[in-house]
């Protein structure tokens, strides 16, 4: 009845393998979980770095900023909420600060005008007072589709900039660096919105270097340039009333 010697060794080896596996597998599982968590954390870190809110300098004076969210009257209007914020004097930094606060949303989430997952990717201010705000794709994809909701989103952005950054005359909205025809199928984003027609035009150059495409887009916004471009363009026919 005695097992042959080689079989005893075989059974012992199998037993040893099972013991090792019992010890190693939980460790392996834990390591995989940790690696996945690290990867997730780094993706989140990358997203945060990309959409990192502008650092607020504690030395900046606290001012009462006016932020425009939905009025709550269900009539498609936005109303101002006073928020005390340390705002930079530089118009580009200041614009980023107020827009990031606007994106963060009001206390009452029902009054949100912009999707919670939307982010401001870049902001430029051209010497002629044209601001270019580049938002992530979520601004267009996550917003409720409709004329009312899209107009409220743009109103909240342009009115907030008008109230807090007096240097801005016009606002051009880009989505992920691209000019788009509409926000979510209704509201026209191919044109610039008038923010403050009486804003002074200063010789100030943009703090952030505007990309060539953004600059080119903004150049097309001036009425004279548009008229010339359209007059010269054969694929854009003219209409007669």
């Amino acid at each position: 009845m005695m097992l042959p010697r080689w079989r005893r060794w075989f059974v012992a080896a199998l037993f040893l393998a099972v013991v090792i596996a019992a010890i190693y597998l939980p460790i392996l599982r834990r390591n995989i979980k940790q690696a996945a968590k690290l990867q997730q954390r780094s993706e989140e870190q990358a997203r945060r770095e990309l959409t990192q809110p502008t650092v607020i300098n504690p030395g900046d004076p606290k001012v009462k900023a006016k932020l425009f969210w939905a009025s709550g009257a269900d009539d498609g209007t936005v109303s101002a909420v006073i928020v005390e914020l340390p705002l930079a004097s530089d118009p580009v930094l200041r614009s980023k600060q107020v827009l990031n606060t606007l994106l963060a949303g009001p206390v009452d989430i029902e009054l949100r005008t912009l999707p919670p997952d939307a982010a401001l990717l870049a902001f430029y201010l051209l010497p002629d007072g044209t601001a270019i705000a580049d938002f992530s794709e979520a601004l267009g994809t996550s917003i409720p589709s409709g004329i009312e909701s899209e107009q409220m989103a743009v109103d909240s952005i342009s009115k907030t900039l008008e109230a807090n950054v007096p240097q801005i005359r016009r606002l051009k909205i880009l989505i992920h660096g691209q000019e788009v025809e509409t926000l979510a199928g209704h509201l026209d984003l191919s044109q610039a919105f008038v923010v403050n027609a009486n804003a002074p035009i200063g010789p100030r150059a943009a703090t952030s270097e505007a990309p060539a495409s953004a600059g080119a887009a903004a150049q097309q916004l001036t009425p004279a340039a548009t008229a010339v471009k359209l007059a010269a363009s054969p694929d854009k026919p003219a209409a007669k009333p």
């Binding site: 409720p144 199928g185 026919p237």
Partner: protein, 274 residues
């Protein structure tokens, strides 16, 4: 008996011919009942559609018929279509489907008011914004109505939007840029919008009394009085709630357009401002 049979056929033919002449002279100018007439403009185009050559400035100076015709065509635009579903409700409601059904009712109401109706899409197509505007710009004496269903707003209400003020862009030739085709019509659009919104407010409580302004892409390139009508909303639990609104919306648009008709004098010469 033989004698009577001889003169009867010429008499019958004569009576028929006379009846045909009377019928022809009394034929109504509104030919909205025939589908072919609904699709063809009653008068020369008022605007140059995309892809067509623009007329030379000299050609505009040639004398044209001084008759100033009134509003007789409504270009009805059920928004979205094709792969663009528009607003989507939780109950599987799609804006592109509902506006098409609304359009059918609006069309019937408009035709009963004597308008010819041109629809920018009949089925599940999705013409571009410019193609839809081109259909309106190719008409003379037309108004443009685009239909939408919102995903926000108090359910059971309806709002009319007109374009924000646009900088006028006419050049020396009298042509206006396609991109600002709505500019000369903004005040007329507002009048039309207020007419329709007033009637909607009477019908649907909670709707605003006056038309609102918004930068609606579809309106900007339309060279005619143009409004966007938006119904709230796709978030209703039961689709029947929206269906019940259709007759009221159709009636308000048709009556608003009829009330607007006397105030809209179509320019006699191409290039003239309204």
């Amino acid at each position: 008996m033989i004698y009577r049979k001889r003169w009867l056929p010429p008499l019958v033919i004569g009576v028929c011919l006379a009846a045909m002449r009377v019928t022809a002279s009394q034929a109504p100018q509104q030919s909205s009942a025939t589908p072919a007439a609904q699709q063809s403009p009653a008068s020369p185009p008022a605007a140059t559609p995309p892809g067509a050559a623009t007329s030379a400035p000299g050609e505009q100076k040639t004398p044209t018929t001084p008759a100033r015709t009134g509003l007789n065509v409504v270009v009805l635009d059920p928004a979205h279509g094709g792969t663009d579903l528009g607003a989507r409700g939780t109950g599987g409601i799609h804006e592109s489907d509902i506006v098409l059904e609304f359009a059918a009712q609006v069309r019937t109401s408009l035709e009963s008011q004597g308008f010819q109706v041109v629809q920018t899409r009949q089925g599940n197509a999705n013409p571009s914004f410019d193609d839809r505007s081109a259909m309106a710009n190719a008409q003379r004496g037309a108004i443009f109505v685009t239909l939408h269903i919102a995903s926000t707003g108090t359910p059971g209400t309806a709002r009319v939007y007109v374009m924000n003020d646009l900088a006028p862009g006419a050049d020396a030739t009298g042509l206006i840029p396609w991109d600002r085709a709505q500019a000369p019509f903004v005040s007329l659009s507002r009048k039309l919008g207020d007419q329709v919104q007033g009637l909607l407010a009477q019908r649907f409580k909670g709707s605003p009394p006056m038309a609102q302004t918004a930068s609606v892409r579809q309106l900007r390139t339309t060279a005619a009085p143009a409004i966007a009508v938006e119904i709230s909303s796709v978030t209703v639990e039961d689709r029947a709630q929206l269906d019940h609104m259709a007759p009221g919306v159709a009636d308000a648009i048709a009556r608003g357009a009829a009330a607007f008709r006397p105030t809209y004098v179509v320019p006699a010469n191409p290039g003239e401002r309204p």
